[in-house]
Amino acid sequence: MRNHSLLGKIGIYAAVAATCGLLLFPIYWMFITALKPANRLRDFPPEFWPENPQWNVFADVLNSQPFGLWMWNTVLVAIATMILSLTVGTLAAYALSRFRLRGGQGLGLFILTSKMLPATLLIIPLFVVFRSLGLTGSLWSVIIAQSTLIVPFATWMLKGYFDTIPPELEQAALVDGASPLGAIVRIVLPVAAPGMAATALYAFVISWSDFLYARTFLTTSESKWTLNMGIATLKGEFVTDWNVIMAASLMAAVPIVGVYLFLERYLVGGLSAGSEK
C-alpha cells in the first residue's frame, strides 16, 4: 500500500465501498423492512428510512413466537454438527495426510465426490434410514444429515492444512515421549488451529443456514423446530407479515456474527505460525 498515489488510494477505497455496499444492501433492506409498519411495505417509491420506525417488532417476535426455543434448538444442532464433523473430519484428514494408505488418493477423491451429490438427492434415502432408526423428529436426524454434507469438505480443508505441517514435528514429539495420539492433540491440533477454526466456522454456518433437512425431518415435532424452520412457518397462506419475518431473520443472524468474532483471532493469529525452520 506504500507507493500508491492519491488517485490509486481513492480507487481502492471506492472499490471497497462498492463491494461493501453491494454485500450490505440486502441486510440494510431487511432492517428497514422490519421497521416499517406492515401496510407501508409495498409503497412506491420506497422509503429509505421509515418515517415511523416500529422498534417494538423485535420484542413482538420474541413474545408472539417460541423464538427462544428455535434459537436454542438451532444452537444445539449447530454446535453438535460442528463437533461431530470436526472430529470425524480431523481424524480422516490426519490419516489421509500422514499415512500411505493403500489407495489413499482414490479414497480422498471419493470423499470429495460424495460432496458433489446434491442434498436433495440424499434426502429421501436419509429419510428412510432415519425413520427405521426412529430418529425422525429428533435433532439428531438433522445433526447427522448435516454432517454427511459437511464432513467431506471439512476433511479436505483439514487435510490441506495438515499437509503443510512437517511430520518432523510429530516425530520430535514421539521421540520426546508423547504417545501418537498425544502428539496429535498436543502438537498437530494447536499448530493447525487456524485450519480448525476455519473448518469449524464453515460447519457452523452451513448448519445454521440449513432449511431443507430441518423441514424434512422435523416438520411434525414443533418443539424441535430450528430457526429457519420456525421462521418459514411465519409465512402465512393468506397474509405474510414481512416485517416480522425480516426482524426474526435479522435476530437469527446475530449468533453467526458472534461465532465469527470469537474464531477470528484463531483464523488470523495462527496463519503465520506454521512450522519453524
Binding site: Q171, A172, A173, L174, V175, D176, V191, S272, A273, E276
Partner: protein
C-alpha cells in the same frame, strides 16, 4: 550413555531396498558420523534407530537392550532434526521442557533443568519467546537444548547444521563436539558433508546407495580408503585418479605416469592385471625433482597455499560415476590437482615436473574398484 548396535538391518520401501545388510557397533561415548551422498540412506538408518521408521529385517540394540520393536518414546534417545522441528506454538521454555513433561517430571524440576540447559546454551534471555522470534542459530540451539535436557543415552542428529550459514556452521560444529565430549553421550550424526565428518567424528560410516562402504576413524578413512568411492569422497580437494599400466619385474610391480616409471608398494603377486586405477591426494604430489614434465592449466592461489591444475596424461584419464559426482571442487574429469605450500610463483601454462611418491599411491582393482594394499593385502569392505 550406551552402546548402539545394528545387526543385519534391512529396509525396503515397496520394492526398493533403501538399506542393505547394515551392521555397525558404536561404542559408549563415541561420536559416530554417517556420511554419504544424498539419497544413500543416512536419514533412513537414523530414523530406524530412533524408532520412527520400522525396519524390514535385523535387530537394533541400544545399551545392550533390543529396541527393534519399541516405539521412539521408549528408546531413551533424543533427536535433533534438520529443520529443528521446534513446536511453533510453544515458548522456548516449553519446547525444551516438553520431553521432561512427557516423562512426568515435577514442574519445579523441569524448570530447574530447563534453566540449567538454557544457561549452557546461552538461551536464558529467550526462554519466553516463540521459536519464530528467534534467529536461525538460536533455533538450532533450542533444538540442541531440547535434546540435552533429557539426558538420554544417545543423541541422534540429522544434518543439524545445514540450515546455518557457513561461519556459524563452523562455530556450532566445534560447540557440538565440545558439548558431546563434556556430556559423554553416544552420538550418531548424519551429514553429507565429508568435512563435517572428518572434523567431528571419532568413527565415520561411509554409505552409498544403502550399503556401508567403510567404517573407521577419520585417519583410517583418509589414509586407507577401502575403495574408489571412499577415496574420492573423503578429503578436500578430492583424490586424483588415473589409469596406468601394470608392469612386473619379478615380485615388484611398476606403473607409468606420463611416461615416468613409478614403483608400486603393492607386490606384483597381488596385481593380476595389465592395468589398474591409481589414486593420489593433491597434497601428496611433489613438484620438481626428476618427475614427469607437465603443463599447468590453472593456478589457484590462496597466498602460500596453491592449487595447481594440470591435464591428466593422455590416455590415462579415469572417469567414473563412482567418483566424479562427489568431488566438491570444480575440476573437470580430465584434470588433476596438486596442493602445494611454498614460496614459488607458478603461472598458467608453465611447465613443471611432478613426482608421485610411491608410498602415497593408492592402487585399485580396475574391475571391483576395491583398494589393494601391500601390508594387509586387500582391505575388507
Amino acid at each position: 550413555m550406551a552402546t548402539i548396535e545394528f545387526n543385519q538391518i534391512q529396509k525396503s520401501y515397496g520394492g526398493v531396498q533403501a538399506i542393505r545388510d547394515f551392521n555397525l557397533t558404536v561404542d559408549d561415548g563415541d561420536f559416530c558420523v554417517f556420511v554419504g551422498p544424498s539419497g544413500c540412506g543416512k536419514s533412513t538408518a537414523l530414523k530406524m534407530l530412533a524408532g520412527l521408521e520400522p525396519t524390514s529385517g535385523g535387530e537394533i540394540a541400544i545399551g545392550g537392550r533390543d529396541v527393534t520393536d519399541l516405539g521412539p518414546g521408549k528408546r531413551d534417545i533424543a533427536m535433533v532434526f534438520q529443520n529443528y522441528a521446534l513446536y511453533p506454538h510453544m515458548s522456548v521454555r516449553s519446547n525444551i521442557g516438553f520431553g521432561l513433561k512427557m516423562h512426568g517430571l515435577p514442574k519445579a524440576e523441569i524448570d530447574r533443568k530447563v534453566a540449567e540447559v538454557a544457561d549452557i546454551l546461552e538461551l536464558s534471555d529467550y526462554l519466553d519467546r516463540k521459536p519464530r522470534a528467534l534467529s536461525g542459530g538460536q533455533r538450532q540451539r533450542v533444538a540442541l537444548g531440547r535434546a540435552i535436557v533429557r539426558e538420554p543415552s544417545a543423541f541422534l542428529m540429522d544434518e543439524p547444521l545445514s540450515n546455518l550459514d557457513a561461519k556459524l556452521r563452523v562455530q556450532t560444529r566445534a560447540e557440538i563436539v565440545k558439548l558431546q565430549k563434556r556430556l559423554g553421550v553416544t552420538t550418531i550424526y548424519v551429514t553429507h558433508d565429508q568435512v563435517e565428518a572428518l572434523t567431528m567424528a571419532t568413527k565415520i560410516v561411509v554409505m552409498r546407495k544403502g550399503v556401508i562402504q567403510q567404517i573407521g576413524s577419520p585417519e583410517t578413512l583418509f589414509d586407507t580408503p577401502a575403495n574408489l568411492f571412499v577415496a574420492g569422497f573423503i578429503g578436500s580437494p578430492g583424490m586424483n585418479f588415473f589409469r596406468g599400466p601394470v608392469e612386473k619385474e619379478g615380485d615388484v610391480a611398476f606403473t607409468r605416469f606420463a611416461g615416468a616409471r613409478i614403483k608400486l608398494a603393492v607386490p606384483a603377486g597381488q596385481l593380476p592385471f595389465d592395468n589398474a586405477i591409481f589414486g593420489i591426494r593433491p597434497e601428496h604430489i611433489r613438484i620438481g625433482g626428476e618427475g614427469a614434465e607437465i603443463g599447468l592449466t590453472l593456478v589457484e592461489s590462496l597466498g602460500t597455499e596453491k592449487i595447481l591444475h594440470f591435464q591428466t596424461p593422455e590416455g590415462q584419464e579415469f572417469n567414473d560415476a563412482d567418483t566424479a559426482a562427489d568431488h566438491d571442487d570444480e575440476r573437470d574429469a580430465s584434470s588433476m590437482l596438486a596442493r602445494v605450500i611454498d614460496d614459488v610463483r607458478y603461472a598458467d601454462g608453465q611447465a613443471i615436473r611432478v613426482h608421485l611418491p610411491e608410498d602415497k599411491i593408492h592402487v585399485f582393482n580396475p574391475d571391483t574398484h576395491t583398494a589393494l594394499r601391500a601390508a594387509s593385502g586387500q582391505v575388507n569392505t
